[in-house]
């Protein structure tokens, strides 16, 4: 009888355990977004959990496109489970944030242990809200100046909360490494 062994993942291959962990990060991102409806009327505060969990998904596994996979799962889950305020645009929102994180993960070694870099990437990922908001409003034919101001307003909040989400990641990654949960 063959022993049941879960093969380890790598830079280009995702093991089932890692895929499931990334899936849990995606689910946490969606549920956190739902629970974080604090009625603060501050734009972009949901970006805190989104960026935190997508950065965590990428920082905890070696797979290079972990954040994109998590973004894809989170987007699909939120579209079809009713947490999507923006319908199909939700997938694009998650994917853009995830692509920034994956890109930064490729270009910046040691990103997930460095507070400054994590905050910077979190801010950049939050800034993607400007493009999604702008294109959504552009598609419904909003005046370009109003659209620019409105998108800027939305993106400013998202950047602040993205930076905060990014700052939390090195703390968690260090603790996980100290416990030996990730290598």
């Amino acid at each position: 009888m063959n022993p049941v062994v879960e093969p380890a993942g790598g830079l280009f291959r995702l093991s089932l355990k890692e895929a499931l962990f990334i899936g849990f990060c995606a689910v946490f991102a969606v549920l956190g977004r739902m629970m974080l409806r604090l009625h603060l009327h501050i734009s972009g505060h949901a970006m805190l959990v989104t960026i935190f969990f997508l950065l965590l998904a990428r920082g905890s596994v070696r797979y290079r496109f972990a954040a994109s996979f998590a973004g894809l799962l989170a987007g699909s889950a939120s579209i079809f489970l009713g947490f999507a305020k923006n319908g199909p645009f939700m997938l694009v929102k998650y994917l853009l944030v995830a692509l920034i994180i994956d890109g930064a993960g490729l270009l910046l070694p040691g990103l997930f242990r460095n507070y400054f870099l994590s905050a910077l990437v979190g801010g950049c990922a939050g800034a993607t809200k400007f493009f999604t908001e702008y294109s959504k409003n552009f598609m419904v034919g909003m005046d370009s100046t109003v659209n620019f101001q409105s998108s800027l307003l939305e993106a400013a909040g998202a950047i602040v909360f993205g930076v905060l989400g990014g700052l939390l990641v090195p703390v968690v990654i260090r603790r996980l490494k100290a416990y030996g949960v990730i290598s």
């Binding site: 049941v4 062994v5 879960e6 093991s15 089932l16 355990k17 890692e18 895929a19 499931l20 962990f21 990334i22 899936g23 849990f24 990060c25 995606a26 689910v27 946490f28 549920l31 009327h41 965590l56 905890s60 894809l72 799962l73 699909s76 889950a77 579209i79 079809f80 489970l81 009713g82 999507a84 305020k85 923006n86 319908g87 199909p88 959504k136 409003n137 598609m139 419904v140 034919g141 909003m142 005046d143 100046t145 109003v146 101001q149 409105s150 939390l168 703390v171 968690v172 603790r175 996980l176 416990y179 949960v181 990730i182």
Partner: protein, 217 residues
């Protein structure tokens, strides 16, 4: 191990119906973006209302969505007022807000009136089977994971961690929440992922290119 694919005709029909509803919701959302004239928007609103009636969603509450619509309309109208310095832009602003509301309404109606299992069955047809498995498994185990998080939270509160809602009004206590709840929850989810992966591997998950199940299941 029997690896016969086993989706009955009834399940296949259900998945097709859910897929059709999903497609209808996405089409209506896309049409809302394309609608630029008031008659088109009125027609689309009527179609959405017919859809609501057809789905027998009498108990479906639209209060939260209508509240969001009012708030969004106020913000957009204020911005248009600032931009044009008179009332001429208000009509366009209202139309934009109306369009945005119609874009989200069909998806919201769809997800509120379709069970999660059926959505996942339909997703299986459009996603790679491994991804659909991961998504459905994670959604299935999400309540279990949330219960774990809740018990971790309660345990930490009993130990005196300053993570009660009134403590969390002070931002310097947020790090306690991170250390006492988030880190253990992540460790727990990693352990759960390992267990599920091992159980799936023991049942020969991934040995066949297509998803398989026990006959008659």
């Amino acid at each position: 191990m029997p690896t016969v694919s086993g989706e009955g005709p009834a399940a296949a029909g259900d998945a097709a119906r859910v897929g059709l509803r999903m497609l209808l919701a996405l089409t209506l959302s896309c049409l809302a973006f394309a609608a630029r004239s008031v008659p088109f928007l009125i027609a689309l609103t009527v179609v959405d209302l017919v859809l609501l009636w057809w789905l027998r969603s009498g108990q479906l509450s639209l209060r939260r969505e209508l509240k969001a619509f009012c708030w969004q309309t106020l913000v957009i109208l204020a911005l248009y007022l600032v931009r044009f310095q008179d009332l001429s832009g208000l009509g366009t602003g209202f139309r934009v807000s109306w369009q945005l509301f119609l874009a989200l309404l069909p998806s919201m109606v769809f997800v509120r009136t379709t069970s999660q299992t059926r959505i996942v069955q339909a997703l299986n047809r459009v996603m790679p089977c491994r991804m659909a498995f991961v998504l459905s498994t994670c959604l299935k185990f999400a309540p279990h994971l949330l219960a774990e998080v809740r018990s971790i939270y309660e345990g930490q509160v009993l130990r005196g961690a300053r993570i009660l809602p009134r403590d969390l009004t002070k931002p310097w206590h947020w790090l306690d929440l991170l250390h006492c709840v988030v880190v253990p929850a992540v460790v727990q989810s990693m352990a759960l992922a390992g267990n599920i992966a091992l159980a799936a591997r023991a049942r020969d998950f991934g040995t066949q290119p297509k998803r398989t199940c026990w006959p008659g299941a």
